[in-house]
Symmetry: C2
Subunit: 158 residues, 2 copies
DNA sequence: CTGATATCATTTGCATACGAATGAATTTGA
DNA sequence: TCAAATTCATTCGTATGCAAATGATATCAG
């Protein structure tokens, strides 16, 4: 019995049984984008379980203002990786809660300066220890060595 | 700067602590959550540059349906990591474009079955090669060895 | 000096993403 | 068996996230 070519059944069997190589099948769950999205989801969930009254983007805005002090809304957006439309919404909500205040730039009238209020400063100082715990819990599945490797490689992709 | 002014004592404290790895300063840009968010943003941007008429979640839904065939909306959501409210919106939009069709489960009347249309099947078969290119471009900053390490560690976090 | 360009902020529209509440249908368990 | 619990889907509200268009202001080039 010769085997001049693979039958349709053989092809099906090969696809079903293949465990490595398997270059003809597309597995969503192995794609970096899909896993990245899930890892991000998990982190946001951990964040919410520790800090329920602030979102990660809101926290990022407060933390950066605490770090660098007053800056323009646009510059803040650049520093925390948000486009102009997104950062406006985040600042509007922080402003409504009295955690930041805005003022017009005296010289360049296009700019909107943003800064922490005393309440905002108090909030971020209180939350930073929780943020450390969030980072720790997010990275808990990795050993210390794996964490260092992971952060190094992740930074290369970001 | 965290404070409007800094005393000599504060500066001394900072210098002493700096020798110990600066553990009292919180740097947003070093936090895993922030970098994860940026890496995800970059991936979505790469995705959009290759596949302009479909979002990553929409692609995920089509790819999973192509992989497993007809399933319930809820089960599909579980497989592609979307809650019920989110998956409904995604399926509604794919349905409006004729890429999927829905039907009622004959036995369990709560379930909404979702399946690819011929157009949907054609679309996902056409797009999968592009998705491979997206994955490749996303991982381009890493060597092959780094990619393997990164995906292994990322999967542990997801 | 002035027209072209660039920057900053806002607005609109669309698409995730998720908590919470609701209703319909099914399954469980005493 | 039948009331309680669970599951599936939908809806509502809130919050990113980004593209595109717009208006105000600032900068640049000739």
């Amino acid at each position: 019995m010769g085997r001049p070519e693979m039958s349709a059944e053989d092809n099906l069997l090969r696809l079903v049984e293949a465990e490595d190589g398997d270059e003809n099948n597309y597995h969503l769950q192995d794609q970096v984008g899909f896993i990245l999205r899930k890892a991000h989801q998990r982190h946001v969930s951990i964040f919410a379980s520790h800090i329920g009254d602030l979102t990660p983007p809101q926290f990022a805005a407060l933390a950066k203002l605490y770090d660098i002090g007053e800056t323009s809304q646009n510059q803040l957006g650049t520093l925390i990786a948000m486009d102009a439309a997104t950062v406006k919404g985040v600042i509007d909500r922080l402003k409504a809660r009295g955690l930041v205040e805005v003022s017009k730039h005296e010289v360049d009238k296009r700019r909107l300066l943003v800064n922490l209020t005393p309440e905002g400063r108090e909030a971020i100082e209180r939350l930073i220890p929780l943020a450390r715990a969030i980072t720790e819990e997010t990275l808990a599945p990795l050993t210390a060595k794996e964490t260092a490797t992971f952060l190094r490689l992740l930074a290369k992709l970001a």
